[in-house]
Assembly symmetry: C2
Homo-oligomer: 332 residues x 2
């Protein structure tokens, strides 16, 4: 699967910034691949890049029309079909990270055949997996884990990869979600794998490698999230991480989407993840804490990170405001 670039990021009429993380992640981490974003009336959020419509984007060379929004359940609303059909007519492939498959809609398949464009469901794993084995692999692995969903695990992983590359380390980012796959051009959408193969697919994502090589694996969900902890645990066991980085967003009081839920402390998150990770790697350790401090001032964010650093004796940073150098330095 190869996604043709550059991209036009379609964010529709979205009003929730968390819902366009697919578009934002491409705009933030691979701006050179994005000609612009396309938003329609009613949209109140933005990726921050240039606004274009379909014709303008094609004139600037856009090759892929990215469905840059998500929703719980990953449903493809038919109200977007006119935009998708027009994009194909104008010469773009369609890229979706939703659960619903583009290729399940005859109207879209017919247009794709007529226009010779591709329908790419990047969330649908194309590979055949086997069940997990728990057998130790060579090379080293870091997994980002979270207090909740959508707290910055992918961004943290990418920031750590960036810092490690700067330090001259041999490192690869391993994508486990649609946003990461859009950025990396490959990976496995782990929450779309059949449950029986969760750990096996996770094992295949970071295969045997040279002893000094690091895989930086994008975490998913949270062991404390009632809906998604199973996915988090399968990924954790299959990843066999040597190093964990705890990710947290200051702006949370309950688990994403569940107003009545309890939010876990960082202590609890460390304890739960270390306990579970030891099943497949007894030598696992936590090497840092990454905090999304965007809900407070820079100074307040730094104060909180310094406090967490002291409390846990671990590097603690906002990887976007500060870089992840201090965490990457523990891996040299």
């Amino acid at each position: 699967m190869q996604i043709a670039s550059p991209y036009l990021l379609f964010i529709g009429d979205t009003t929730n910034q968390l819902s366009i993380k697919m578009a934002c992640s491409a705009a933030d981490w691979r701006p050179e691949l994005c000609v612009g974003e396309y938003r329609i009336d009613g949209c109140t959020v933005s990726t921050g890049i240039k606004k274009l419509d379909i014709r303008q984007a094609v004139a600037e060379g856009a090759k892929s029309f990215i469905l840059g929004f998500a929703n719980s359940g990953g449903v493809l609303d038919k109200k977007w079909f006119p935009y998708i059909l027009e994009a194909m007519e104008q010469g773009m492939d369609i890229v979706s990270g939703l659960h619903d498959k583009l290729t399940d809609f005859p109207e879209l398949v017919a247009k794709a055949e007529q226009t010779q464009q591709k329908l790419l469901d990047i969330r649908q794993p194309k590979l055949e997996f086997v069940t997990g084995t728990g057998v130790k692999r060579t090379g080293k692995r870091l997994l980002t884990v979270g207090t909740d969903c959508s707290v910055g695990k992918m961004y943290t992983s990418l920031a750590i990869e960036k810092s490690m590359k700067k330090f001259g380390l041999n490192v690869d980012f391993r994508a486990t979600g649609q946003c990461g796959i859009l950025i990396a051009g490959q990976g496995v959408a782990i929450d779309c794998v059949i449950s029986d193969f969760l750990s096996g697919a996770s094992e295949s994502l970071s295969p045997n490698n040279s002893p000094e090589h690091w895989d930086i694996i994008e975490g998913q969900g949270s062991l404390s999230h009632p809906a998604f902890a199973g996915v988090s645990l399968g990924l954790l066991h299959g990843s066999q991480p040597d190093a964990l980085v705890i990710c947290h967003d200051l702006n949370r009081t309950h688990m994403r989407g569940l107003p009545d839920s309890q939010f876990p402390s960082i202590e609890t998150t460390i304890a739960l993840n270390l306990q579970a990770a030891k099943l497949t790697n007894p030598n696992v350790k936590v090497v840092g804490i990454a905090v999304n401090t965007s809900s407070v001032s820079i100074e307040e964010g730094q104060r909180i990170c310094a406090q967490l650093n002291e409390q846990f004796s671990l590097p603690c940073v906002d990887p976007l405001r500060d870089t992840a150098d201090s965490i990457a330095a523990t891996l040299v």
Copy 2:
């Protein structure tokens, strides 16, 4: 989905008793639905019921040809095609609990159309699921959890249901695997659900019910199994159990299929499951221990159960040798 009875249980040339648990479970729990088993040269195991070939079974009224074996990965070996084709020609539907779908093989689909027989992939969930919510449901739930895979969680669940019915309780067995679905005629093969919907599918399996009603939910895998713990955790969170029963097989020294793995103690299994279950039901408790003692004498098995009973202050039984009355009695 309705499975036509009676069944012919096909166990092929299997040499591993654990691999024919689908056939055995039907023979043990619904003997009135089974006309016999069909085994071929090389087979060294048995369900213990009458041996018949396809023609003999049809003469005795068999309506469904059950693929009664399983393997890691759930692959359908093409060497079984001649038997499947003959069964359809003789007037039987085909029932499979493998991951590989009967309906994905054009040769089988063509024969099914020609003979007007059905291909039933009971492991493939037909329902559409949503992601989990963690919202508390009415009614009461018991989940069986294990030290390992294949230690008797389904048998224990069925034995508890049987004892509870004897006590006049309002109870339903909820099947989560292909064997249970064959027995119950409905259910969700939870390890075949897309990971994102693990908890949501588990929630849908035991919906709101009357306050005194009990669902006895068949557990899957083990929180200590490197390959399948994610499935176990999603099922645990979605089930919101009020009561847990710990299942164990005396005849294990390592996790199924993983010779180098560590086997968890019953203490560890209790602690891990209670800790995780409290996320969606803070009032959860362990109400019993079910031990498969078939590897030792009846007397030795009873001695071990008595010792565990004393050690944990919980009813401890071999539900097949002793019934599960003492566990069911805690739920009256």
